[in-house]
Symmetry: none
Subunit: 155 residues, 2 copies
DNA sequence: ATAATAAAAGTCAATATTAGTCAAATTAAA
DNA sequence: TTTAATTTGACTAATATTGACTTTTATTAT
């Protein structure tokens, strides 16, 4: 039914392992072989699904005995998370990245599920679809930053 | 013996599946082929018959393994109140009016204080300050409507 | 030690695979 | 007859897949 594509399947596989352990270390070629795809597909999966916005840090090494290590990080370990998140947002941001940030805030318990959903609909592509494509991203960034700043106060 | 047109037939087909399950995930091209119509007809059916007012939320993804997912949601009792509020908002709205709407939602118990504050900061004048004063109001209206629509259902 | 070779992972652009938009043409309803 | 709804298809956008080429690191040979 869902996740027909290999990228989603690989993502799930990696995340299922990360559900148990804090980090995972893979050999790119082995995973590629396991899922019968080209090695660079693993990079694609990592670049689109294991970003820092999503709460993952990736480190790798080439050459003999090379590896890719994916580490789950806790954004709240840092005292000034909000500053970091605001920097991540920058002047403009696409929906996927923004979504990941909200998701992370939810997972960290800084937003309720309902709050997250409301925010997501306010920055949704359909909500912010304008003639000018760039305005969409700029507005989204503004909204997100404004909400992040709001989270500094009451709680 | 009504529902002669394809759109109605496709609508019925999808809804018959949704009678059993809470959601359905389709491949646009497959359904189009099944009913011998162009793919964009599926969009037409969805846009005219699977709206949030009717209790459906639609999510889709393009690219390999793409899909269209239609989810049946439980409309809350306040759903028709929301219709009125959306009409009030219209195509554009200034901050004061928007504020009043949020305030009344809070007073009605449809928003928590924190949710209200988050929404207010996202539609604040400073957040939406653009060169063009009218754009500000248009964007605010879009955000507000999107949030109102989200309030139609839970979870 | 140094150079050559092997063994990884990274990059990037071309291509493939979906779905979305929009407006013109057609058909049905009022 | 006017208006609204539907049908159609050309064009656009998003996402995924693939592979040739590059870079980094380790190992082996000289």
């Amino acid at each position: 039914m869902q996740s027909q594509n290999i990228s989603d399947i690989i993502e799930k596989y990696l995340k299922s392992i990360l559900a148990d352990s804090q980090q995972i270390e893979i050999k790119r070629s082995e995973i590629a072989e396991l899922f019968n795809c080209v090695p660079s597909q693993i990079n694609y999966v990592i670049n689109t699904r294991f970003t820092i916005q999503n709460g993952y840090v990736v480190k790798s090494k080439r050459g003999g005995g090379g590896y890719i290590r994916i580490v789950k990080v806790n954004l709240l370990d840092d005292s000034d998370v909000i500053d970091d998140l605001i920097n991540m947002v920058g002047d403009e941001i696409d929906f996927n990245k923004a979504f990941q940030i909200i998701q992370s805030l939810y997972q960290e318990g800084m937003l309720t599920r309902r709050e997250s959903n409301l925010i997501i609909s306010s920055i949704d592509k359909r909500t912010l679809a304008f003639e000018n494509r760039q305005i969409e991203k700029i507005v989204r960034a503004r909204i997100l930053i404004s909400i992040l700043n709001r989270l500094r106060y009451d709680d």
